[in-house]
């Protein structure tokens, strides 16, 4: 995404907006033609916040689990190989 353009076209902006709408769970459900700028921003912020919370929660659970796991054990080997596939 580093090609130099002298202007951003409206087409590009519309494409970006529809891509964003298609990822956000709420706007995807309600259909794409109704989001206003402020709603889109609100949905996006809420979604990012909920993803942050999820990462936080998963970090908690992972760290609890890892507390009991020895990284040289066969369990760790299994996990490593699963991640590689």
């Amino acid at each position: 995404m580093s090609s130099r353009r002298s202007r951003i076209t409206e087409e590009e902006i519309n494409e970006l907006i529809s891509k964003l709408q298609s990822i956000l769970p709420e706007t995807r459900r309600r259909g794409t033609s109704r989001a206003s700028a402020s709603k889109l921003l609100k949905e996006t912020c809420n979604y990012i916040k909920s993803l942050h919370r999820e990462v936080d929660d998963l970090s908690d659970r992972l760290s609890d689990l890892l507390a009991t796991m020895d990284t040289n054990s066969p369990h760790a080997e299994i996990v490593r190989s699963l991640l590689r596939s």
């Binding site: 580093s2 907006i17 990822i23 921003l41 990012i48 993803l51 699963l82």
Partner: protein, 169 residues
């Protein structure tokens, strides 16, 4: 990401819960940024993490050559287009009112502008490196960041699941 976990010594008994959790998060974030490559938000993320001296060594170890690449100052947004924000706002409003064809009362549009401004500020505070971006670039980075966050969540869920089942077995 596993390398990060190992380096941070996550399984050592001497760690407090907070320390371990921070280590897990650090690994996850570094993995996410490293996998994505060079974008405004990944560089900002790495820069933030590097502010703590003890993280720097771990970061260097995990990222290797990429660490230098991601911390070098970059000219990516040297030609920021200040007009893009207005173009963006105008086209978003146009996109949604095209179907409705309603004349907006002046008060409504003032309120809309205020809301957009306020929410843009919130978005900027959520996105690493977002403070210096606006308009098209802000949304572009946001899209990229959201996609990467989803991948991060997915990865962590799989790791968790795999660890849970292997612990039982």
């Amino acid at each position: 990401m596993l390398l990060g976990l190992q380096l941070a010594g996550v399984s050592s008994k001497g760690m407090t819960i907070q320390e371990r959790k921070s280590a897990v998060k650090l690994s996850a974030d570094v993995a996410m940024a490293g996998a994505r490559g060079s974008t405004n938000w990944t560089r900002a993320l790495i820069a933030n993490l590097s502010k703590q001296e003890r993280n720097k060594a771990i970061l260097r170890c995990i990222l290797g050559k990429d660490y230098e690449k991601l911390t070098k100052p970059c000219q990516y947004h040297s030609w920021k287009n200040p007009r893009s924000k207005q173009i963006l706002r105008r086209s978003v409003i146009r996109v949604c009112s095209r179907k409705r064809n309603v004349l907006r009362a002046p008060a409504t549009s003032v309120l809309a502008k205020v809301l957009v401004k306020k929410r843009t500020q919130v978005l900027k505070s959520l996105l690493p490196g977002g403070e210096s971006l606006y308009g098209f670039y802000l949304l572009d980075e946001t899209l990229d960041y959201v996609i990467s966050l989803r991948v991060q969540v997915d990865l962590m869920q799989r790791l968790l699941k795999a660890s849970e089942t292997s612990n039982l077995g």
